[in-house]
């Protein structure tokens, strides 16, 4: 029978032009893996339409399962310094994963 343990899921939704930079940083902060989906949307900030970019890939939604400690570092990173100027949505929640899986 499967045994569950708690883990932290971090979801970061940002402009796709930021993807490379964000991923590099998240890996540096300790994540072992991630899943990404291109998406679209609008919030208070809005997005600048750029002719040569793909409107279906305006935003990217990154989902990472990691430890509480690393999740805090990620949230801190996206809400501090120059990064906070960009339209970024980020949130965490606590989930249960199979104890055999090694997310962090």
């Amino acid at each position: 029978m499967a045994k569950f343990v708690e883990a932290t899921r971090v979801v970061v939704i940002a402009e796709s032009v930021l993807l490379k930079e964000l991923l590099a940083k998240f890996v540096e902060l300790g994540i072992k893996g991630y899943n990404g989906l291109y998406c679209f949307g609008k919030g208070e900030h809005g997005l600048v339409e750029d002719l040569f970019s793909n409107p279906d890939r305006a935003c990217v939604r990154l989902e990472m399962i990691t430890s509480r400690d690393i999740a805090e570092k990620i949230m801190d990173y996206v809400h501090r310094g120059a990064v906070q100027r960009y339209p970024i949505t980020a949130y965490v929640d606590t989930i249960e994963v199979d104890a055999k899986d090694t997310f962090y």
Binding site: E15, V17, E21, A24, K25, E28, L29, H45, G46, L47, V48, E49, D50, L51, F52, S53, P55, E72, K73, I74, D76, Y77, R80, G81, A82, V83, Q84, R85, Y86, P87
Partner: protein, 385 residues
């Protein structure tokens, strides 16, 4: 004076009902009439690519036939064009700050749009000049590329200045509504290494490789220069080498431009609704500003022509004035997306596409043609042999 007005009225009417503009009106009416029609985005991208390459190709072919002396004159004109658009960007910022209630960040960004130029307006103007059989200098497509850059630099410079003087993360300056000092990014946070407190990376350094790459090697500039280079090298090998491709890049140009203007009409109309919150002074800026900048451009071009003792073609004046009067909608939005995320994403494009583009292609170009002609007639340049 009466003759001039009569001629303007004739040109204006003549231009207003050409197929090019009729397509623009057709596009403009789509959102108004709520016709359920979406212009495919990839087709719009494809048409833009085609027009940029075509304009470059044709310019490159013409450049290959230029005598060596003309290259030096063209080089000087490019430096002047760059400086003129830089000044226009700064002047636009001062006008916007003085006459409108825009936030400083938005004024700086919009001024960047106006310090740049518009490939769409340029190709439309080429279409109008070709239809009217008005000649222009072969190097003007290169001017299109060169004069696109200053606006990006003006916007980046002004915004970096705002950031140094306390702009918060939402782009508000001290004294502006909604200013939140607690969200001013801490510059010291930009120097940490490898931990959660670090806000380092590209975001912290304002000018970086990716941004410079976008300014100087964006897809628009690349395609334009690529077209110029290929047309130039092709024609140097002989007319027979480029002739087989001319039907695609030269003959089909006008028809493709019509389709492009159909889409631009739709976009311009949709953008206009974003001006609701902008206020009358901003709308007036987007309409009156181009006339001021175009006239400045015509006088600058004429000054250079006098300095050289070399008369320019009327089309050269008109294209130069359009490069001064038009506002970017390709290069600067991409730079804004990368480097000025705090600015309004809608206002600059509403002004540049909704107002200025629509004004320039319908009313502006015939007016600039008339101003150029008046300047040429009243202050003739005598050729120095």
């Amino acid at each position: 004076m009466l003759d001039m007005l009569t001629e303007f009225w004739f040109n204006f009417r003549h231009n207003l009902f050409k197929p090019l503009l009729l397509f623009f009106y057709m596009g403009f009416s789509v959102p108004i009439l709520k016709v359920p029609f979406e212009f495919p985005h990839v087709l719009y991208q494809g048409l833009t690519m085609y027009l940029l390459i075509s304009i470059g190709w044709h310019g490159g072919e013409e450049l290959a036939a230029l005598p060596a002396g003309d290259f030096a004159r063209a080089g000087g004109f490019m430096v002047i064009g760059f400086a003129t658009n830089f000044v226009i960007g700064v002047v636009a910022y001062l006008i916007l700050r003085y006459f409108t209630k825009l936030r400083q960040i938005d004024a700086a960004t919009v001024s960047g749009y106006y310090g740049s130029d518009s490939a769409g307006t340029f190709v439309t103007c080429v279409g109008v000049l070709t239809a009217a059989k008005i000649s222009y200098a072969a190097y003007m497509p290169v001017m299109l590329a060169v004069m696109e850059v200053p606006g990006c630099l003006v916007a980046l410079f002004l915004v970096s200045r705002l950031r140094r003087t306390g702009m918060d993360s939402r782009g508000n300056m001290p004294g502006e509504p909604g200013y939140d000092k607690s969200t001013v990014p801490d510059p010291s946070a930009a120097h940490g290494h490898g931990n959660g407190d670090d806000a380092n990376g590209r975001f912290a350094s304002f000018i970086n490789w990716e941004l410079l790459h976008e300014v100087f090697l964006n897809p628009g500039l690349f395609l334009l220069f690529g077209g110029i280079f290929i047309g130039f090298v092709g024609r140097l090998q002989g007319e027979d080498v480029t002739k087989p491709d001319d039907p695609l890049f030269v003959t089909l140009f006008q028809g493709s431009l019509c389709l492009f203007l159909l889409e631009m009409g739709m976009t311009a109309c949709k953008r206009l609704k974003d001006l609701k919150t902008a206020g009358l002074p901003f709308i007036l800026f987007a309409i009156i500003g181009p006339n001021v900048f175009a006239t400045l451009g015509i006088f600058v071009a004429h000054g250079y022509s006098m300095f050289l003792g070399q008369p320019f073609d009327q089309g050269t004046y008109v294209l130069f004035s359009v490069l001064c009067a038009a506002a970017s909608y390709i290069a600067v939005p991409a730079v804004q997306r990368l480097a000025i995320p705090e600015a309004s994403p809608t206002l600059p494009l509403a002004a540049s596409l909704g107002c200025t583009f629509s004004y320039n292609v319908t009313i502006g170009i015939p007016i600039y043609m008339q101003i150029a002609k008046a300047v040429m007639d009243h202050f003739p340049v005598t050729a120095v042999s």
